[in-house]
């Protein structure tokens, strides 16, 4: 269901990571309707205990685990994490708080991936930005899911450096979209200074 080739640092490479999905088909659990919580989660469920428990974790190799599954099995996974075998993925409606409070240094992960279910969901950009700027994540940041070439420029500017293009779309064609614009106006994650601080404008 995923494209096997991905874009990393502006070129096409094979994916060396094994993606671990959450088991689906279980009844989704709605979060209790705390006022603030409600907004984050309306219409979107967090993984249930059952889903987390039933996730099958491959015993060897480099794996990308759902954040919730990692947190639940954190102790057992420590030695593999030290071997650079553990990466995480989070969904756009999840917050980074549990990760940040559990892990002093998120750079123990060689890769963090953000799953975007719908193209139109721009939370992925803010998550990328926060991971890179507020939480100083320095390793590979991957976008996957409903990722089309038309988001790549924005994803790049929001701190992503790896893109798994949606199945059925050509990653080679997508590559060129990273260069859609040569001189962006505003400061962002990749180019921090706005254009008027980078260039002489008259």
């Amino acid at each position: 269901m995923l494209n096997s080739q991905l874009i990393l640092n502006q070129s096409i490479v094979d994916d060396e990571w094994t993606f671990v999905p959450l088991p689906s088909g279980h009844e989704e659990i709605k979060k209790q309707a705390g006022k603030v919580v409600l907004f984050k989660l309306t219409g979107e469920s967090l993984p249930s205990e059952l889903q987390i428990n039933e996730t099958v974790i491959p015993q060897t190799g480099k794996i990308i685990l759902p954040l919730s599954v990692y947190l639940k099995n954190r102790d057992a996974l420590q030695h593999r994490a030290k071997n650079n075998e553990i990466a995480l993925w989070i969904a756009t409606h999840e917050t980074l708080d549990p990760l940040i409070s559990a892990e002093k240094d998120i750079n123990i992960f060689p890769l963090i991936a953000v799953f975007v279910e719908r193209f139109q969901d721009g939370r992925i950009f803010t998550l990328g930005n926060l991971l890179r700027t507020r939480h100083q994540f320095k390793n590979t940041l991957r976008a996957f899911g409903d990722v089309l070439q038309d988001q790549l420029f924005y994803l790049k500017r929001s701190g992503f450096d790896s893109y798994l293009i949606k199945e059925g779309k050509d990653p080679n064609e997508a590559l060129k979209a990273l260069q859609s614009f040569s001189d962006p106006y505003q400061g962002a994650v990749d180019i921090k200074e706005p254009v008027w601080k980078r260039k002489v404008r008259s």
Binding site: K40, G43, G122, F125, S158, P184, K197
Partner: protein
């Protein structure tokens, strides 16, 4: 006005290339309808009732005569020889062909124009006061900040796919003419006690299905932080705004659900991280951009002109037009002039390509080659010499651009409604024209005085009906078209939302309903009292009783 350097020009050119590629991928089947939709919307391209609709950006409503001529040529070449000026200071073409839109964008790019972010769930075209830079009550000229906001918001990577569209308005004068309270973010400039420029930040206003006036979340923001503070607001919204239900996805719903205090707390917490980050503006950049908007090369003139006074005294038609269409100006001997796009009997806000060319010529002759679009859907020549006003009037009149109805009942704000818009519940243009016809007696119109009548064809409220002194909303009842009436809405510093007076009316009843509302007003008004003030004093009941009697 602002002029592109090669950085601006390159961005717009690259956008044309990108959109050409996206359109051809769509036409060749590589992009589905669903995939293409957000892309075309961010380029102002809707799929409408008859054809696509293309919304062209007019940043903060400012146009050069050269740009207007280009718009006229585009309307002739790619459309049916007219365009519609909208309440968001844009121009809409109703009949372009999808395959030709990349060519239209390319034509626009030649005159420093585009359709970037005129639709879609992103930061839309920034709007402001049509008298920016020339109004006597101005505190600061908001156009430089609007331009800085335009650049910052163009392809802003973090905010390119928000839960919903996002509108920012800037006001720099004592009287708010930008409706800051009806925007997702409203920026109201003022001078603080130390005589330093500061911003009052409004958030969470908007019309549409759930009309809400904004709340102040920051009383005093130093202007240097305008971008980072907006970033904090929009970041909170991007993460926490609802995405499951488009009717509840606007920031106003989030602000209301959290409460302004909680929302503000979250924004301030976010801002602590962003404050002083690279998007903070500095004096140098503000100065650089401000240079483009400095005063025009005004002549030193007296603030009085004998010839003008003479015709004004002797020519009644001219005098009544002057009374409505000529506005005070900072500079002695100059006035701003509104050209009415509301001739009785035609679609409000429409201009033919010939009219556009005439206005361009008038701008060249009398107003330093520039003009503005107002959210009331009229065109403004901002810098006209008092002594030129009569000549200007004669030419404008010959092309149906001088109906003396500015600010009066027939200066109707009206969305395209069921004649063009596929979302409409009812037509709105024919309602506007039938009301205009019913009030064709100019003396009577002037006697009624200041009155804003706004019409929308559905609850999306493109015609701002909630803030009209009289608002008309098209509703659908069992498949037929009906109209609900509100009164007491108002734009400006003391903005208010109108109150529904009761059950809706059939189309043919509408002119009569408006007449009855006016009858009550005429009978009850105190001397010099405007319609809106009478409604505020008496409440809706006397109006309601008479209309439904």
């Amino acid at each position: 006005m602002y002029q592109y350097d090669n950085i601006d020009q390159t961005i717009v050119n690259e956008r044309v290339t990108q959109f050409r590629d996206q359109t051809s991928r769509y036409l060749s089947g590589k992009l589905t309808d669903d995939e293409f939709r957000p892309l075309r919307l961010q380029n102002g391209l809707y799929i409408q009732r008859h054809a696509p609709m293309l919304r062209i950006a007019i940043p903060y409503g400012l146009l050069s005569s050269k740009q207007l001529r280009k718009l006229a040529d585009i309307a002739d070449r790619f459309d049916r020889g007219y365009g519609h000026f909208s309440t968001r200071q844009n121009l809409q073409l109703n009949w372009p062909k999808l395959e030709e839109t990349p060519d239209i964008l390319e034509e626009l790019s030649k005159v420093e124009m585009h359709a970037i972010q005129t639709s879609g769930n992103c930061i839309r075209n920034i709007t402001t006061d049509q008298f920016a830079g020339v109004a006597p009550d101005e505190i600061i000229d908001p156009r430089a900040i609007a331009e800085i906001l335009r650049q910052w918001s163009t392809f802003h990577p973090e905010f390119s796919l928000l839960p919903r569209k996002f509108k920012i308005a800037v006001s720099g004068s004592k009287q708010d003419r930008a409706i800051v309270q009806a925007h997702d973010i409203g920026l109201e400039f003022y001078y603080d006690k130390e005589q330093k420029m500061a911003i009052r930040v409004w958030v969470g206003g908007g019309l549409g299905r759930t009309p809400i006036l904004g709340s102040v979340i920051r009383e005093h923001l130093e202007w240097e932080h305008v971008l980072t503070y907006c970033e904090a607001i929009i970041r909170v919204y991007n993460l926490h705004g609802r995405r499951d239900n488009i009717y509840k996805a606007r920031i106003k719903i989030l602000v209301k659900a959290l409460g302004v205090e909680e929302f503000k707390k979250q924004v301030e917490a976010e801002w602590l991280h962003l404050k002083n980050s690279p998007n903070t503006i500095n004096e140098g950049e503000l100065k650089r951009v401000t240079k483009f908007f400095t005063q025009m090369p005004y002549e030193k003139l007296k603030d009085q002109d004998d010839a003008f006074d003479e015709v004004n005294k002797n020519n009644k038609a001219f005098a009544s037009w002057v009374k409505r269409s000529v506005h005070p100006h900072k500079q002695k001997g100059y006035r701003s002039v509104t050209l009415s796009l509301k001739p009785h009997g035609l679609a409000p806000g429409d201009a033919t390509s010939d009219q556009m060319r005439i206005v361009a010529e008038l701008a060249d002759q009398y107003s330093f080659g520039e003009l503005r679009v107002s959210h009331e859907q009229n065109l403004i020549l901002a810098d006209v010499k008092l002594k030129d006003i009569f000549k200007l009037w004669e030419k404008a009149k010959a092309h149906q651009l001088a109906t003396p109805n500015i600010g009066l009942l027939t200066d109707i704000i009206c969305c395209p409604g069921g004649d063009f818009c596929s979302l409409a519940n009812a037509k709105s243009i024919p309602i506007a024209t039938s009301i205009q016809e019913a009030f064709d007696d100019l003396d009577y119109l002037h006697d009624i005085g200041e009155l804003e009548l706004n019409i929308s064809g559905c609850m999306n409220a493109c015609g701002h009906h909630h803030i009209g002194h009289i608002g008309v909303l098209g509703v659908d009842k069992d498949g037929s078209e009906w109209y609900q009436v509100t009164i007491g809405g108002k734009q400006g510093n003391d903005a208010s939302l109108g109150t529904v007076i009761g059950p809706s009316f059939a189309a043919e009843e509408m002119p009569g309903v408006v007449k009855k509302l006016i009858d009550v007003y005429i009978k009850q008004r105190n001397p010099e009292e405007r319609f809106i003030d009478t409604v505020r004093r008496l409440g809706v009941n006397p109006f309601k009783e008479h209309v439904y009697a």
